[in-house]
């Protein structure tokens, strides 16, 4: 995985907390790079991924495309989801789409 920019920490903290609530399981920062399916196998199945997509869209205001965004890699861990959100927020800012 790519190194995470320092400025991303608050976003990642928010995301980790929201995912922990969604999955009903505490998530530690030390496990950000670990597969969520490994941490919470009983909740993070294909339907759990869709729940996480919905959470990201609602909490962070970024649209996720189920095909183009390749959920298997982008929704792999807290770190990869955070990276996707950052990229989409950057793109939106460049395109003037942020509120």
């Amino acid at each position: 995985m790519n190194a995470t920019p320092a400025t991303a920490a608050p976003l990642r903290d928010r995301l980790r907390e929201a995912l922990a609530t969604l999955l009903g399981h505490p998530l530690a920062a030390a496990d950000d790079e670990v597969s969520l399916a490994e941490i919470v196998p009983e909740r993070y199945d294909s339907l759990g991924v869709l729940d996480a997509v919905g959470l990201v869209e609602k909490e962070f205001g970024v649209p996720v495309d189920l095909v183009v965004d390749d959920l298997r890699s982008t929704f792999f861990s807290v770190a990869t989801i955070a990276a996707l959100i950052e990229r989409k927020q950057r793109d939106a800012a460049v395109l003037g789409l942020l509120p």
């Binding site: 339907l47 869709l50 919905g54 959470l55 869209e57 609602k58 649209p63 495309d65 189920l66 095909v67």
Partner: protein, 577 residues
């Protein structure tokens, strides 16, 4: 296509869906087979037919729909005519066994009531496709015997109101598939006499005493009589009537004065002549084969006439609705669309057919009524009311077309077509019987398409609207209010709990919420629509990157208009598929 897209209409003034049609493809392949010919591109037709097979071994009218016996027979028989082996016959046989009903008949899909169409298709699949005997012919004979009316003709199911030549044909051929030449379970002389009586003074045959002669009735009558060991009373008059249907430009018309050739007229005329034992000369054969081959779509199966003028009522209604969504001051709705839809209300049946010359179908009728209403037009509502009234089955529900077994989407479409046309559904149907049928589809978690089927969100949403239209406002509202809890995390609605959302389910849920005055999660709707919008069209599923055509565009654009209109929410049309 979006409302802003340039409009391209067919030469007949209507629009058509991109895909070939199954019934046209079967009729074309069968006709060519009878003539000793093949399609110009048989491999394309094989690919079209095999793509309809589901994992259960049965086939569906369109990809993605559940298997039914009607589609299964047509696909399997056409594949056989093309010399292509049937994929997975053992699985098909297992699925077919599930369509047998406790009363001895067969249903179109597991869980439905039996009807004579399904009995015919199922017995022929057993005998001719699978090469197996029809199980328990005695029970089948009992069911078939109960379809006979006192005047001798057969009806669609035991207790149905009207005998019909088609029902006579389906019954006679089903019995032959099940029992060979054994004496039929009816009063055979009375049945034969009733069928012969449907030949009118001009030589042609009609479906029943009050209808007009047509080629379809002629073929069904002559083939039914043949299966019963009989013949028309005046075969030469029938030969003259059939010869008069031949058009100067090639092909045949369905009935006197129709003036257009199509696949079904070729099928019916060739089938009738073949049964009469009349050879078709080489020139005549080549002319019919050319006409039929000209109906094939590139890379696919067939439509009913030349593809450039083969409009269908669903696509034409969809385009009409899309034009109505255009901003005020823009181009209006072309008159040809309204003319096409009004012309689809053909004189010999009082509902609207899917394609001209075919039997009327209830979902197409609903789409036509709503599309015309969207542009301030209407059909002849009295004829429409009469047709819907006659469509109701003895179990209280409605099927896709006359005589076909009941299902929930057809029942909802019938009731909503009445309401959309300004008629009172409670006054035009046996409303308590409709509610009884609805109750038979109920499940602890919602409603299924047919009794015993698993519930789906679309069926549940549709059931709520019918309850409301028939005065059960409290239960309707309770059911409708529960829909909000079924919204998925991606913003739309899926067919089952936690299923991936799709456009069809989402439209049904939001339509019900709007009709019942319940709140709609517009933010969620916008998130979902962003996932299914593809270019200027819409996909049925967020997993597809291909626009799904005019029907998806019609539903998607209405939802998009609603999602964009917090201040003055747009009305969603009552449209079912």
């Amino acid at each position: 296509m979006s409302p802003a897209s340039p409009l391209t209409l067919l030469a007949d003034g209507g629009a058509r869906q991109g895909e070939a049609d199954l019934w046209c493809s079967y009729a074309a392949v069968r006709t060519l087979h009878w003539l000793g010919e093949k399609p110009a591109r048989p491999e394309d037709t094989v690919a079209f037919l095999t793509s309809r097979q589901n994992a259960d071994g049965g086939f569906a009218w369109q990809r993605g729909l559940p298997s039914d016996v009607w589609a299964t027979y047509y696909c399997a028989q056409a594949l056989g005519d093309l010399g292509h082996p049937l994929p997975d016959p053992a699985r098909l046989a297992d699925w077919l066994a599930g369509t047998r009903t406790a009363d001895g008949g067969y249903a179109m899909t597991p869980g439905q009531g039996a009807d004579i169409w399904a009995v015919y298709y199922a017995t022929r699949v057993h005998r001719e496709v699978l090469g197996r005997p029809v199980p328990d012919p005695e029970a089948l004979g009992g069911w078939l015997a109960a379809t006979q009316h006192p005047d001798g003709g057969l009806g669609w199911s035991p207790g149905s109101r009207t005998p019909d030549v088609r029902a006579g044909y389906y019954g006679a051929l089903a019995w032959r598939a099940a029992a060979g030449d054994a004496l039929g379970p009816w009063d055979t002389p009375a049945l034969t006499g009733w069928l012969q009586d449907q030949q009118d003074t001009g030589g042609g045959f009609r479906f029943g005493p009050t209808s007009q002669p047509c080629a379809w009735a002629a073929f069904r009558a002559v083939r039914a009589l043949d299966a019963l060991g009989a013949a028309p009373r005046d075969p030469d008059a029938l030969r003259r009537w059939l010869a008069d249907r031949r058009l100067p430009g090639g092909g045949h018309e369905r009935w006197a004065g129709y003036g257009r050739a199509d696949v079904w007229s070729a099928f019916s005329v060739v089938g009738a002549l073949q049964t009469l034992g009349d050879p078709i000369g080489p020139d005549h054969r080549a002319e019919i084969a050319d006409q039929v081959r000209g109906c094939q779509l590139p890379g696919s199966g067939f439509t009913y006439t030349e593809p450039g003028r083969a409009g269908d009522s669903l696509a034409t209604a969809a385009v009409t609705i899309l034009t109505a969504l255009r901003p005020a001051g823009g181009p209006g709705t072309p008159d040809s669309l309204v003319r096409w839809l009004r012309g689809a209300h053909l004189p010999y049946e009082d509902g609207v057919m899917y394609m001209p010359g075919r039997g009327a179908e209830v979902r197409c009728t609903l789409w036509a009524v709503e599309a015309l209403a969207a542009v301030g037009e209407s059909l002849d509502t009295e004829r429409l009311g009469r047709w819907v009234h006659g469509l109701q089955n003895t179990d209280g529900g409605f099927g896709y077309w006359l005589g076909r077994g009941s299902d929930l989407v057809s029942t909802v479409s019938a009731v909503e077509a009445l309401a959309a046309a300004g008629l009172d559904p409670a006054g035009r149907t046996d409303a308590p019987a409709v509610l009884r049928f609805l109750a038979s589809c109920r499940h602890p978690d919602g409603y299924g398409q047919v009794p015993g089927a698993e519930p789906t969100l679309a069926a549940t949403a549709q059931a709520a609207r019918v309850l409301d239209l028939l005065g059960e406002h409290g239960p309707a509202r309770d059911l409708g209010a529960g829909l909000a809890h079924r919204a998925g995390p991606l913003g739309g609605f899926g067919p089952t709990a936690r299923g991936l959302p799709d456009l069809l389910s989402t439209y049904q849920a939001v339509l019900t919420q709007r009709v019942l005055g319940l709140p709609v999660d517009l933010d969620g709707l916008r998130r979902f629509l962003a996932k299914v919008r593809v270019g200027s069209g819409f996909a049925w599923s967020p997993l597809s990157r291909q626009p799904a055509g005019l029907l998806a565009a019609c539903l998607g654009e209405q939802l998009a208009a609603l999602a964009a209109s917090d201040a003055a929410p747009a009305r969603l049309l009552r449209l079912n598929l």
